[in-house]
Amino acid sequence: MKNKIGYLCTYVPEEIIHAAGFLPVRIAPSTTPPTRADAHLQSYTCCLARSCLDQALAGRLNDLAGVVFAHTCDTMQGLADIWRESFPNLFVETVVGPVALNSPHAQKYLVAELRRFVAALEQHFDVRVTEDALRASIRIYNTRRRALADFYARRAEFSAVQWFNVMNKALTTPPEAISDRRSATSNQQSAIENQKSKIGVVLVGATIDEPTLPQILDDLGARIVADDFCNGARYFDTLVAEEGDPIEAIAARELTRATCPCKHRALDDRAERLLKLVKDNRADGVIFYHKKFCDPHAWDYPPLAAALDREKIPHLLLEVEQVAPVGQTRVRVEAFLEMLSEG
């Protein structure tokens, strides 16, 4: 039996999939330009949706027993439907979490939705998701999140490419594989040279899936001092409570973790978090790393940019498709770093 279930967004509760006996793995865009997906999606949908669907249509995700979506942006909603129609025999589910995280009903609603998701898994695969199994899975994923947070706390010792590799490997490997800092960074020689670099930047975006930008930052001697990525710090910044009802606890984490632009907690929630990231980590500037045609991040950009402007924090906007063009990206980043450096 196939034992992996894919997901595209970290609002999908990994613990529940894991407690049902499956390994949740993040489906990430590849660097190959999509061909098959173009029959289903316009070229003005984001590369994440196009590339992930393309891989599925090419048969490269045939080892998955199912794919779980989270209700976030319109593209993801549409993608879930295309997936369902393209693979009628596959387990395709959408976890429809609340958008207004500050609603007094959000917790109750999300708990009900998560219980529905549990029931869907149980019914489709004829399994039982027990409370004990859920508690065990919560502990395992908390351990991984702690290990990543621990690695993150020491990120000054590592290069940007190493940071990228650790984060991207983490979400596609069994959680037990990354249970401490040492395993998070195994095969990663600490990049001592990086400690010399002076300029620190905060990266902001949906996901970062290929290492062109980290490589450029390494080449130019800049450091990533913090990030706000779905497959970055947003993934591990909040743990699930290990006491009490496990589903209630999983729901509570989703409502309190750092928000993605598809969710709403307060009007200035993301701007305040970004300013705090900059100040706490003494960053010199912010790089927005946007996927072309990603509406939620594009809509959030003007108020975030305005908040940075008010605080006189320099920022740069990069819009990339699947693979950032090296020359074009490098000249922008290099000019930005020149701007940040004295003299």
């Binding site: 074009q328 000249v331 922008r332 000019a335 930005f336 020149e338 701007m339 003299g343």
Partner: protein, 286 residues
């Protein structure tokens, strides 16, 4: 050989009255752009010699050729230059450069030197891209924006249209202004699409001038959008090759409601001038 309408003049210049032997510091900047390469030599921060050449397929060769050309009629040799900064898209491939800087920093510094310290907004319209740069009184970059990765609204696009319409590139601007009524802009500034659109207009019986006007207007509009996004502060100046096209500059000024300072030098050398000045600063600080 048929006339190559896109081909602009390559040339060199040197100051007849500067005695480099008495100089404290001799620096150079080499700007290897996607279309053209400039080498500028400065003696104690004064323009001594420069050259403007087409970029070839090899960046190192293009850099060497431009530098040789700049020094050609002087008795200064490359090994007498104390410090060289490479810039432009081929900046990492300037074999004799001590350091590299982006063309954004260099155009900012160059515009500050060539136009004066009151410059706050620089538009660099180059061969393959376009940059809106805000600078301070020292010529340091405060903020910048670049166009997308396509060649829309760039020198390369102009070369393609020059060839299509068989109009020498230096005359395009003036010709585009000689129209009875300003036509609607072409709808696309993508070089490939704009070319087919221009062909369509010619077939419809449009005059060359009108087609040029329609294309120039579209280019100006696209660049204006970039400047509006970053916000224009006075003084406003244009560097790069397209600053020499009066048709585009005039239309841009009209759309923005601001007049660009008129240069009394070749705007194409601004990047290399900036690089030579940054080279001087780097050498001074060592």
């Amino acid at each position: 050989m048929p006339q190559e309408f896109w081909r602009w003049k390559e040339y060199n210049w040197h100051a007849p009255d500067i005695a480099w032997r008495n100089a404290k510091i001799i620096t150079a900047g080499v700007d290897v752009g996607s279309v053209s390469t400039q080498a500028v030599v400065m003696v104690d921060g004064k323009l001594f010699a420069y050259a403007n050449r087409r970029t070839g397929s090899s960046s190192p060769d293009s850099a060497r050729r431009a530098m040789d050309c700049a020094l050609e009629e002087t008795d200064l040799a490359l090994d007498k230059i104390h410090y060289v900064v490479g810039t432009g898209y081929g900046r990492v491939n300037v074999p004799f450069a001590h350091k590299t800087m982006t063309e954004i920093a260099c155009h900012a510094r160059g515009a500050n030197f060539l136009y004066g310290a009151s410059v706050r907004t620089v538009l660099d319209m180059g061969g393959q891209d376009c940059k809106a740069i805000k600078i301070d009184a020292q010529g340091k970059v405060v903020n910048f924006l670049m166009n997308d990765k396509c060649a829309a609204g760039t020198g390369r696009g102009l070369e393609v249209i020059a060839d299509l319409l068989q109009v020498p590139i230096e005359e395009m601007g003036e010709l585009s202004l000689r129209v009875e009524k300003e036509p609607e802009p072409v709808s696309s500034t993508c070089v490939v699409f704009a070319k087919s659109e221009a062909l369509g207009l010619l077939r419809k019986g449009w005059k060359k001038n009108d087609v040029l006007a329609a294309y120039s207007r579209a280019m100006a509009h696209r660049v204006a959008a970039l400047l509006k996004r970053i916000g224009i502060e006075k003084e406003f100046v244009i560097t790069g090759g397209i600053a020499k096209n009066s048709g585009i500059v005039t239309r841009l000024e009209k759309e923005l409601g601001i007049v660009a300072r008129k240069p009394d030098f070749d705007t194409q050398i601004a990047g290399a001038v900036g690089a030579a000045l940054i080279a001087k600063k780097m050498k001074d600080e060592r």
